[in-house]
Amino acid sequence: MDLRLSLTIALSKITIKGLRLLKRGGTTLPGKIALKLYPGFIKKITQNFKIIMVTGTNGKTTTSRIISQILKENNIEFISNKSGANLVSGIATTFLDAVDIRGNFHCSHALLEIDEAAFKSLSDFVEPDILVVTNFFRDQLDRYGELYSTLNGVKAGIAKHKKTKLVLNADDSLCASIGKETDKEVVYYGVNSDACDSLEDNTNNDASFCLYCRTRYEYKSHIYGHLGEFSCPKCGYGRPASSVNCVKVLELNAEYSNIHFSINKDGNEILNARINLPGLYNVYNALAAAACGSLLNLPYENTIKAMSKFECGFGRMETINVGNKKIRLILVKNPTGFNQVLNYLLTEDNQMQLAFLLNDNLADGTDISWIWDVDFEKLDKIQHNIGNLYTSGIRAEDMALRLKYAGLYTDKISIIKDYKELIENALNNTPEGQNLYILPTYTAMTELRNFLRKKFGLKEFWK
């Protein structure tokens, strides 16, 4: 028995218990302590798990949730870092929580959502069996630095691994480049060029130029952002052939999406699935999860079942019923993700109240100028459907300013910093049977959920 390991685990477990008694999440601090006490402990306790990791800019949490449902449908027991604590310290806490004092564990699989900037350093401690990479978009510049350094960090992390199999987004020229540069086994997923109509113009493209020869890509089709069927006219780098494909988007509405998709290895049979989260971006998340299921050799029937019933993650379209009014929480983190959420709102036929909560703490990004890259202008099309526009959070004034310059009516905009006042006011103005959409950044989400938990008994987030 490794005494140092046992001592580390014991101390951390006490910390986890203590924090939860105090009603604090306790999702990262115990791991931080353990890493101080015994830096090599993760390597030790993870080596017997089959590890699935999910990383990338957007969609990590939702993709993890769908994979988790797939595992459940197949009766595979696993541990996961469910609460969005996805830095090294959070991962450490996840394993600490799951092992007994000797370092033994009760299940075979681990499903980990990993911050794309933390992936490289975590790679020194943990080697995944399967790594799912969702996409690369510009994110918090002050924290992650430039997009290309994030991508290179992920590549450097992968290079440290030997056995890892990769699940990559074929429609993302940045993500797909990982596959081009490795000899590891890769399963690509993507949306066929004729599966749906492109949703937006792409003036603010995160990756318009070839990663290898700096020539402007040609696109046979654009899905959103820089995702689509790209090819470089000069060096020939282009979208790789994918084996998990959305063949047709049949229906996108405010509640769910219906798609036809195929998994090549199961023949070219067209499968029908309902994804119980709206938005085209969630189609990608579902495909990534399906590709992971296919690498695990799990029957596709269970994958389809999982797509239609997975639980939404922390603030990803979480719904709280207040009488017959609904509060719906949608986390927003960066321009592409935010634009996708706005596209979703455009599909809402009913009247709605909208609240935008903008914080500038470290986890949100201290630089909030990215809100100027979000196309709030498109809300103009549904102004008649918007009752009130609320802004809150530390940078509520900047958010209100952005909405004003998007051409939205200033008499609809209210700045309310106090969450209690905000929720009461917004709910009062929400007619029976209608929705209050709240779009917060990360720490605003955490704060708001704490408030809502007390007021409406929302599930505690570490459960």
Binding site: T203, N204, T366, D367, W372, T410, I415
Partner: protein
């Protein structure tokens, strides 16, 4: 009716973090006053005729994108940009766009990258990033209704130094500014306004936006006197709340 033509140079390459907020601010504040605005996006390979525009905007980009435009800028558009600047055209240049007008960028390990050399300034790469909210004071903005204080957000590792011909845009009140050493932020030369404050510089500093619009309108229309005031309650709240927080 007055009209303004705004040129956004390399919008698909130099578009780091909200730079287009500046274009949005120029456009909206004109439109709210009944001034018609046309924005032209001019990028790699496009011909660039400065006489067609009243305000020219050059933003910042990621290193990768800046290397892509290097050739186009030095070999093709650079000459026109220089002529336009000498002819008093109104320019707003942010971060990377600001550095590009200078003589060179020397990386911290000694590589020197040649820039346009239109403005007497140069940039030395630093190892430490200068990141955070910034406040600076601009004399040219001071009036009865404006104290000249500008707020923004900076994120750069290059340290820029100004030669004798170029004045700083403002004096740093909080933050790093050009180099974190001499309290200077940005550069002002003829009608070229340069700043490290990226993203939403203009929306939160409506006096700055109006200053640029006024300059451009006065150049274009002999009968133009001044802009009519707007309701800037939300602008002031965004400006003042940050100023209060960091000063």
């Amino acid at each position: 009716m007055y009209e303004l033509n705004i040129c956004h140079l390399y919008p698909d390459l130099l578009n780091l973090y909200g730079d287009r907020g500046n274009i949005i601010a120029l456009k909206r504040r004109s439109e709210w006053r009944g001034i018609k605005v046309t924005v032209s996006n001019i990028t790699l390979g496009d011909s660039f005729i400065p006489e067609n525009y009243d305000i020219i905007f050059l933003g910042g980009g990621q290193d990768y994108e800046q290397t892509i435009i290097q050739d186009d800028l030095l070999k093709s558009k650079g000459g026109e940009i220089k002529n336009a600047i000498m002819n008093d055209k109104v320019f707003l240049c942010i971060c990377g766009g600001y550095q590009l007008l200078g003589k060179y960028y020397k990386t911290w390990d000694g590589n020197e990258i040649e820039f346009l050399g239109i403005l007497d300034l140069w940039t030395i790469g630093g190892r430490k990033r200068m990141i955070g909210n910034i406040a600076f004071e601009c004399d040219f903005l001071k009036s009865e209704s404006c104290d000249g204080k500008v707020i923004g957000f900076e994120n750069h590792s290059g340290k820029t130094y100004l030669g004798a011909d170029v004045k700083p845009l403002g004096r740093v009140l909080k933050g790093y500014g050009n180099n974190g050493e001499d309290d200077c932020e940005g550069a002002l030369y003829k009608n070229v306004y340069c700043s490290y404050s990226h993203g939403s510089l203009l929306p939160k500093n409506p006096a700055f936006t109006d200053h640029l619009l006024t300059l451009a309108l006065k150049q274009k229309y002999k009968d133009f006197v001044s802009l009519q005031p707007l309701d800037d309650v939300i602008e002031s709240r965004a400006h003042d709340s940050m100023l209060k927080r960091i000063l």
